[in-house]
């Protein structure tokens, strides 16, 4: 597969390490009351869609960027690649 890196252009997927669903960005706060249920869903449950899937890839043999790749799990077609840091900020994550 080839991932079109937003900064570097097309790169072979062998340069990347796969993590999984991009929902991993949306980590619930782990401190406080009743966090266990939210964290259980975050850690263990997946939509696992047959079709469009937003997922995290890490450019380990490259510029060390985490990317959010939108890829179809039936055809492997990639329609969007974004820097995960930008996605995280757009989800309101900061410090």
């Amino acid at each position: 597969m080839i991932i079109n890196h937003p900064l570097l252009g097309p790169r072979d997927a062998t340069e990347f390490v796969y993590l999984g669903d991009a929902s991993m960005i949306e980590r619930p706060n782990g401190f406080g009351e009743d966090v266990a249920d939210a964290m259980y869903e975050y850690v263990y449950l997946r939509d696992n869609p047959a079709g469009e899937h937003r997922e995290l890839w890490y450019h380990e043999q490259g510029d060390r960027s985490w990317l959010v790749v939108t890829r179809n799990t039936l055809t492997h077609e990639i329609t969007e690649v974004a820097l995960a840091r930008d996605v995280a900020r757009s989800k309101g994550r900061s410090k």
């Binding site: 900064l7 062998t14 340069e15 043999q61 490259g62 510029d63 060390r64 960027s65 820097l83």
Partner: protein, 188 residues
């Protein structure tokens, strides 16, 4: 222990070999300092690079060069400065120069640098480097990190037929073996 002084040794013993259509040599005369750009600190750092060496920040896939200083992109917010150290410019002096504007780390010892040059360089690289090295796709000054024979590597096109190939120091022997084998197998 005034009677003992530590002498630095190149990891590949200064390897240098001429193949029929290319030459492969270890470069142990380059100092490397990584510079991380503080959050919201791009302007201060680029101003400093400019005043110190008239150097501009590298782009994600292109090196910049001025006054014997080369900036090689590493990550989205980090690059390497590569230079020949001498009495006026040392690892320490460069770190001092940047102390207020960037986070620096000495990287000289983290890497091995192989210089591959000659007409046969690209056909040797064809066997280990997944990147498109055609001159219009990877012109002089380009830099990229990738993987070669299971090793993380950085490739810099220094000029049309001259490349720096950088990889981790601890696996320098394996890296040399990979590049050398490519040279040997593609030699005429």
């Amino acid at each position: 222990m005034a009677d003992i002084t530590l002498i630095a040794a190149p990891v590949l013993g200064g390897f240098n070999h001429e193949f029929s259509n290319c030459t492969l040599a270890e470069r142990s005369d380059i100092a490397l300092i990584s510079v991380a750009v503080p959050r919201d600190g791009d302007t201060a750092l680029s101003t400093k690079l400019d005043t110190a060496w008239t150097l501009t920040m590298p782009t994600p896939s292109t090196t910049t060069q001025a006054n014997g200083m080369r900036a090689i992109p590493l990550t989205a917010d980090q690059f390497l400065l590569a230079f020949h150290p001498d009495t006026n410019r040392t690892e320490v002096s460069v770190q001092d120069d940047l102390a207020e504007v960037g986070y620096t780390t000495v990287q000289t010892d983290a890497w091995v640098i192989l210089e591959l040059s000659g007409e046969g360089a690209t056909s040797a690289l064809e066997r280990i480097c997944p990147l498109d090295l055609a001159p219009d796709a990877f012109p002089t000054g380009s830099a990229a990190r990738t993987v070669m024979e299971h090793l993380g590597a950085m490739i810099v096109r220094v000029d049309n037929t001259r490349f720096w190939l950088m990889s981790a120091r601890s696996s320098a022997m394996s890296f040399l073996h990979a590049v050398e084998t490519s040279c040997r197998w593609t030699a005429s």
